[in-house]
């Protein structure tokens, strides 16, 4: 499993990743997914990660990239969805 940029989040990330990969391969890819079953674990992981992103100032970088992405090519990923 790939590591988190924040070592303190590795454990919760690993639990989330395991859950996701199981859900993705056994449910989503078979067209049998009805809801994101790993959402509660993601909330936990995200709480840890958000703090790390903020501490390192990366949250600002991500926000700016999102705005930029919207300005130029919002249609790319939304197309067909």
């Amino acid at each position: 499993m790939s590591a988190s940029l924040a070592p303190e989040c590795n454990e919760v990330k690993e639990r989330y990743d395991s859950c996701f990969l199981k859900w993705y391969s056994e449910k989503f890819l078979r067209g049998a997914a009805r809801s994101d079953e790993c959402a509660p674990l993601f909330v936990e992981y995200k709480a840890c990660l958000n703090k790390a992103l903020k501490d390192r100032g990366i949250d600002v970088l991500i926000e700016e990239a999102r705005v930029e992405s919207k300005e130029s090519d919002d249609t790319w990923l939304r197309k067909g969805s």
């Binding site: 499993m1 989040c9 990330k13 989503f28 890819l29 997914a33 390192r56 990239a65 990923l77």
Partner: protein, 250 residues
């Protein structure tokens, strides 16, 4: 000013396997420079059976020396070597539509975007019915890399909302001759970026093929085992970075 790189390729694997490999592609033996991958957001829509994911990759990277040599020292700030031996963040979006059998992805750099912005977009398309387990089915991918330099127009190494944009001010004072040379610097930087992109693309493809092959021969378990091993081996470098505080970016 923008430069493009385009390419098409076909993986001899079914669409579902290719999308799984996409999520599992870092680290792999062809991309050991990827230090970490985090999920920033993920949303699943049951009605349309689509999955949107945003991830953040941290890669060991540096501005190409050729670019560093072109850049005026003043643009690099107080530590002119800060563009070297550093790390770069990549933001990745992916949208998987299971019903139509398409996956659209976008990867863009978050660092040095004023010097060179690199946006890679891919569309993966299933050859037949996306859910069919036909082992003969394959997945086509088309890749476009867009490179653009806005050097001098809006140079920012780091977005700092509070700081006044001194470079923008100085850019407006440029005379005709200077803006002409600015354009030629931008073109040179884009050309260097293009060269780099065309070198790294085959590597990215080999990495995907490697993960796909392991998925076929050993399943998910084999891929995860290798990821853990590469992670352990890569930790030496990670530790050095941490102890030098290189990850403190702002």
């Amino acid at each position: 000013m923008v430069k493009f790189y385009t390419q098409s390729y076909t993986y001899d694997y079914p669409f579902p396997t290719v999308t799984l490999a996409y999520f599992l592609r870092y680290p792999n033996p062809f991309s050991t420079h990827v230090l970490s991958t985090d999920v920033i957001s993920r949303s699943f829509d049951a009605e349309s059976q689509t999955l949107h994911t945003t991830r953040l990759h941290l890669k060991r990277s540096k501005l190409p020396t050729a670019v560093l040599n072109i850049l005026p020292r003043s643009l690099l700030g107080t530590s002119a070597s800060s563009g070297n031996d550093s790390q770069a963040y990549i933001l990745e979006h992916s949208a998987i539509d299971l019903r139509t059998g398409t996956m659209r992805t976008e990867n863009r750099n978050l660092d040095w975007t004023g010097v060179l912005s690199v946006v890679e977009r891919q569309t993966y398309t299933a050859s037949g019915a996306p859910l069919a387990s036909d082992p003969e089915s394959h997945t086509a991918v088309s890749t476009t890399v867009t490179l653009s330099s806005r050097l001098g127009q809006r140079f920012k190494r780091r977005p700092t909302a509070a700081a006044p944009d001194a470079d923008e001010d100085s850019a407006s004072k440029l005379g005709f001759f200077k803006s002409w040379s600015q354009a030629s610097i931008q073109r040179s930087i884009e050309a260097i970026g293009l060269k780099r992109a065309s070198k790294s693309q085959p590597n990215a493809k080999e990495g995907m093929k490697h993960v796909l092959e392991r998925l076929r021969s050993g399943g998910l378990g084999a891929v995860l085992e290798e990821m853990r091993r590469l992670q352990r081996e890569g930790q030496g470098f990670g530790f050095i970075c941490w102890s030098h505080g290189w990850l403190r970016r702002v």
